[in-house]
């Protein structure tokens, strides 16, 4: 199994939207490597003809009738927003200038 490098942690952090500090990259690289090393044993069963279980219940899609029902008011929905404007969530720019 591959070791987890500092660069790999930096890449994971970017994928996971975490702006990790330099010292955290070193710290986590060692720990993640240890953890992955310890849990990699699951691969021992990978070759066997075992179906995977993703959930303990046999799930089927649950549908409800398409009816109008009471819901949160705009004020309630926005009550926890870090910023709002004109009854909308105000977010930082999504697209760049160019």
């Amino acid at each position: 199994m591959p070791g987890i490098t500092r660069e790999e942690v930096a890449h994971l952090a970017r994928l996971a939207r975490l702006e990790l500090k330099a010292e955290e990259l070193d710290h986590f690289a060692g720990q993640l490597d240890d953890i992955i090393g310890a849990v990699a044993r699951v691969a021992e069963v990978a070759d066997r003809d075992v179906p995977p279980t993703s959930h303990p219940l046999p799930l089927t899609n649950v549908m409800r009738a398409d009816e109008v029902r009471p819901s949160l008011t705009p004020e309630q929905a926005l009550s926890c927003a870090p910023a709002q404007e004109q009854q909308r969530f105000k977010v930082p720019q999504i697209l760049g200038e160019d």
Partner: protein, 499 residues
């Protein structure tokens, strides 16, 4: 009646005394609020105390009684609610800075059911951030102390809920159990905790950590109290697509008729060996002996895939958490960091998550991101799901031979705060005996079975039942509890030092 008398009553006793008019719900709430004021500075079981809300709810119960209306089985009983369930008008932080000060605009289904049952919610309890941990040290708001020894951990992630019970701040509490977070704190604080069958208690409004594993459940000081609370919170919820649409098993009836006579009780070979404290093993062996004396037949079981449960769990839970926690992006609620007008939404999200999440949460998000990444998916997440199948099959085979399985709940008693903080793998071992049940979705309980001789700290006995057979936990638990209390001459908690 004095406050010190009231706070030692069980939930069942409180409810009976309120119903008969011997006590008012307001007196009961005030006694517990006074207790919280007196000891919680030391214990730190609570993150938020809703004094006004609790007293208002208590007054409503008293008025209902005066009007001659029928009261529910837990009307007027105070409860400590894990800070993972949304509470309209009361802060919900999940032990995280990213939700500091967040006041949800809606109640979780569980919260609503508690309110409708006239249970008095005292406040929200401390927990490992996003329920990730085995010690309540990962709370962004500081650790909770174990009432048996305040320098030790109260278990995790629901350490606040169990500590509130063990310190007599509340007779009832709610926890959630993803890998043992109800049972493990119960074990190390000398209280009772139940993880119901997966899907038995609604997850609507319960902040998601690992959706296929998370399960809310009751915490109490007696088996009967846990059963009474179980019946209030369980049952189908159309707002949760993973909620089981079937009648709630008769858990209260089972708790009132404890017996193991003629039952077959399994002992699993894989739940012992390296890493188990001698005193824990000793108390467990005595419990098995007790079960025999009470008329149970003991059956040795071999469940080889249990040895891989911890590994599978620490791939599946982080994978699901890395996905669930993506919603904490600083855009619609909670903390937002670095929004100075020049940064993009993506940068603001990254800065917010860096600031708002603690180490354990970041560790698991990255672990999950790694396990789900394209090159490693089959080796890690895919294999972990196969292990999950094998564990479920081991349980199925076991339950063809036995009615319930017993084991120690945790391999050791409560360890000192800070001891395992920098060693995640050592911390994860605390969940060794509880995890197989979460992976398979069946039901389990922890109840006190004595003190470990070497450190005089509580040891938990775990009882495991098949899915939808939760009543067996209560039937066996009540019998064991009654026998132990008769042997000790009093409930185990009476041996805890006074705070």
């Amino acid at each position: 009646m004095t406050d010190s008398f009231i706070i030692k009553l069980t939930a069942a006793e409180i409810a009976a005394r309120i119903a008969s008019g011997e006590l008012t719900a307001v007196e009961v709430a005030e006694a517990h609020l006074a207790r919280i004021e007196a000891v919680d500075e030391k214990v730190h079981a609570f993150l938020h105390i809703d004094r006004d809300g609790a007293l208002a709810q208590a007054r409503a119960v008293d008025e209902k009684r005066e009007r001659g209306e029928k009261l529910g089985p837990l009307a007027g009983v105070p409860l400590a609610l894990k800070d993972i369930f949304t509470t309209e008008g009361i802060p919900t932080t999940v032990g995280s800075k990213i939700l500091e000060g967040w006041i949800p605009p809606y109640d979780a289904t569980l919260t609503r059911r508690l309110r409708e049952a006239d249970v008095v919610i005292l406040g929200k309890t401390n927990m490992d951030e996003f329920a990730m941990g085995s010690s309540t040290e990962n709370s962004a708001y500081g650790p909770t102390g174990n009432p048996w020894d305040l320098t030790r951990i109260p278990g995790g992630s629901g350490g606040g809920s169990s500590a509130a019970l063990a310190s007599y701040e509340a007779p009832l509490a709610i926890g959630t159990d993803t890998g043992g977070s109800i049972r493990q704190p119960a074990a190390v604080t000398g209280t009772v905790g139940v993880k119901p069958t997966y899907g038995a208690v609604s997850r609507y409004g319960m902040v998601a950590f690992s959706s296929s594993l998370d399960q809310g459940g009751p915490c109490a000081r007696t088996v009967l109290d846990a059963a009474l609370l179980h019946e209030v919170i369980a049952g189908h919820d159309p707002l949760d697509s993973t909620s089981i649409d079937a009648p709630v098993p008769p858990v209260v009836e089972a708790a009132r008729n404890g017996s193991v006579e003629g039952m077959r009780v399994g002992v699993v070979k894989q739940f012992r060996g390296e890493g188990y404290q001698a005193g824990v093993v000793q108390r467990f062996d005595e419990s098995v002996q007790l079960l025999k004396e009470l008329g149970a037949e003991i059956v040795e079981l071999d469940c080889p895939s249990f040895d891989l449960a911890l590994s599978a769990y620490y791939l599946i839970a982080p994978s699901e958490c890395s996905s669930n926690l993506a919603r904490f992006d600083g855009l619609r609620y909670g903390l937002r960091v670095g929004d100075d007008g020049t940064r993009s939404a993506e940068d603001v999200t990254s800065l917010t998550r860096e600031e708002g999440f603690g180490d354990e949460v970041k560790r698991r998000i990255m672990l999950g991101t790694y396990a789900l990444s394209s090159g490693y998916y089959d080796a890690y997440y895919g294999s972990a799901q196969k292990v999950r199948t094998l564990i479920t099959q081991d349980f199925e085979k076991a339950f063809e031979q036995v009615d319930v399985i017993v084991s120690p709940t945790t391999p050791t008693t409560a360890f000192p705060i800070g001891e395992r903080a920098d060693d995640p793998m050592a911390m994860y071992l605390a969940d060794l005996c509880t995890i197989p049940t979460n992976l398979a979705g069946n039901a389990a309980m922890s109840l006190p079975c004595g003190l470990a001789p070497e450190d005089n700290l509580p040891v938990g006995l775990q009882i495991i039942a098949p899915a939808m057979k939760d009543e067996r936990l209560y039937k066996v638990g009540a019998a064991v509890e009654a026998a132990f209390v008769a042997r000790w001459g009093h409930p185990l908690l009476e041996e805890a030092p006074s705070l």
